[in-house]
């Protein structure tokens, strides 16, 4: 045990400028310690790579139950999901969620996702100038997830708003959260009433209902699973794909490396995820007094995991502020790690790899205008990214 005091910072984790560019704040917090107390948010933030990775693997000390979000309402709403539960309950819920989402279940989708991504990129390259977030970063995941779940018509149009709101409400009870709760509520209400017949025959979504009807998964869980596919799988993937385009626009020499050696595609996606984490902060609760990096996080404390801070920790990655596709940081923290590691990472990889392959094949260089960023509680993404000119490969 140790009697060293936990370092304190007056930073507000959800202040607009911090949300738009958290990296200077992450560096300052990392400098203070592996864990830092932020009275403004009543949280203990985890900032260094090893501390975060250990906490993600240690669900017995860092519980997810009622602790993922940063306001009581959202934690109440998430009760009973795999996201917000601990083993052993978590184990069954997770298996139900991932039965249709694991790489082995998704293998059949690879060709169609590759074709969708390539067609989108080809069309945009032919246009010569376009807005990359709507045109690509949103277009691909919305199409992929809609087809996966079997959405049709009007519901498809709501997916973007619903997905954004579902992440936004995980933040503290600020104006963004308050404005997003009614929209997140629409998603929840729709998922509570959707039936198998609403979803396209042969889709994964329809399959979840058929599994429920067969008794393979517990009664009344199909709607919850659809809810999690949408809540977790849309906004985050959109952020990643937007980041792919922006980072390759800013680093054409890195895109050239992938073009010369396409086996670098998975490494390039790992580096995009490491360099810009799609998620800013994610909650846990300390179940006991836990010693972390020489100080004690008190029992009951609210903990915030800063994935992006760990991903830039110079104690773990050499030259962490450089974007280098050959680095292949396969152990980056952006998908989390351990029992709660991103359940949809197989699908995210399929989509992102398809985009990187298509860009490397078709694009030599992108000339971009200024990117627009809007502060958002949890997902850090680019709102608009004008592509002014495309030099073909």
């Amino acid at each position: 045990m140790t009697d060293s005091a936990v370092p304190i910072s007056d930073l507000d984790l959800f202040d607009d400028p911090v949300l738009v560019d958290p990296y200077p704040s992450y560096a300052a917090l990392r400098g203070l310690g592996g864990v830092v107390h932020l009275p403004a948010n009543d949280v203990y933030v985890l900032t260094r790579y090893d501390v975060i990775r250990n906490a993600l693997g240690d669900w017995e000390s860092f519980s997810s139950e009622g602790a993922i979000g940063f306001n009581p309402m959202v934690n109440e709403a998430l009760t009973g999901t795999s996201l917000a539960s601990d083993p052993p309950v978590h184990t069954q819920l997770r298996a139900t969620l991932t039965a249709n989402l694991s790489p082995r279940a998704l293998r059949g989708l690879k060709d169609s996702i590759d074709a969708k991504a390539d067609a989108l990129v080809e069309e945009l390259v032919n246009k010569g100038s376009f807005e990359a977030i709507d045109g690509l970063a949103r277009a691909l995941p919305l199409e992929v997830v809609a087809d996966l779940i079997g959405f049709t018509g009007q519901v498809r149009d709501s997916m973007l708003r619903w997905g954004q709101a579902a992440m936004q409400v995980i933040g503290p009870m600020n104006q963004r959260t308050a404005e997003s709760f009614p929209i997140a509520g629409e998603l929840y209400a729709w998922c509570s009433t959707v039936t198998a017949e609403d979803l396209a025959p042969g889709s994964v979504g329809r399959g979840v209902f058929e599994a429920e009807a067969r008794g393979d998964i517990p009664p009344n869980t199909a709607g919850h699973i659809i809810h999690q596919y949408l809540g977790a799988g849309v906004d985050t993937t959109i952020a990643s794909i937007g980041n792919i385009v922006a980072l390759f626009a800013a680093h054409p020499e890195q895109l050239a490396l992938v073009r010369e050696n396409p086996s670098l595609v998975p490494a390039a996606f790992n580096e995009v995820l490491r360099y810009w984490a799609p998620l800013h902060a994610w909650g846990r609760r300390a179940t006991r007094d836990v010693e972390v990096d020489g100080v004690v996080v008190p029992q009951g404390a609210k903990v915030a995991i800063l994935f992006g801070a760990g991903n830039r920790d110079p104690r773990h990655y050499e030259d962490p502020d450089a974007f280098l596709v050959e680095r292949n940081p396969i152990d980056h923290l952006s998908f989390g790690y351990g029992p709660h590691g991103c359940a949809g990472q197989g699908l995210a990889r399929l989509e992102a790899h398809a985009v990187i392959e298509a860009l490397a094949r078709r694009v030599g260089r992108l000339v971009v205008g200024p990117e627009v960023r809007v502060p958002s509680n949890i997902t850090r993404s680019i709102e608009e990214l004008p592509i002014l000119e495309v030099a073909p490969a």
Binding site: S102, P103, R104, A105, R107, I330, G341, G346
Partner: protein
């Protein structure tokens, strides 16, 4: 040293196979097969890498 797989936890992400293709592979159904469970000193670095990259912590060395 032995490598141990927590089978229910494994989701078949396949990153371990990329790290240590001589020690394990995904079969045609996407299920992980450990080709060598007893790990020699010569293979311990590879085995460690495979354990480390598992995104859901389904592998460990004992």
């Amino acid at each position: 040293m032995r490598i141990v797989l927590d089978r229910p936890r494994c989701e078949g992400h396949g990153l371990c196979e990329e790290a240590a293709p001589d020690l394990m592979h995904l079969d045609d159904d996407g299920e992980l097969v450990l080709d060598r469970e007893e790990i020699s000193d010569a293979d311990s670095a590879l085995a460690n890498a495979a354990v480390r990259v598992c995104p859901v912590a389904a592998l460990r060395l004992v």
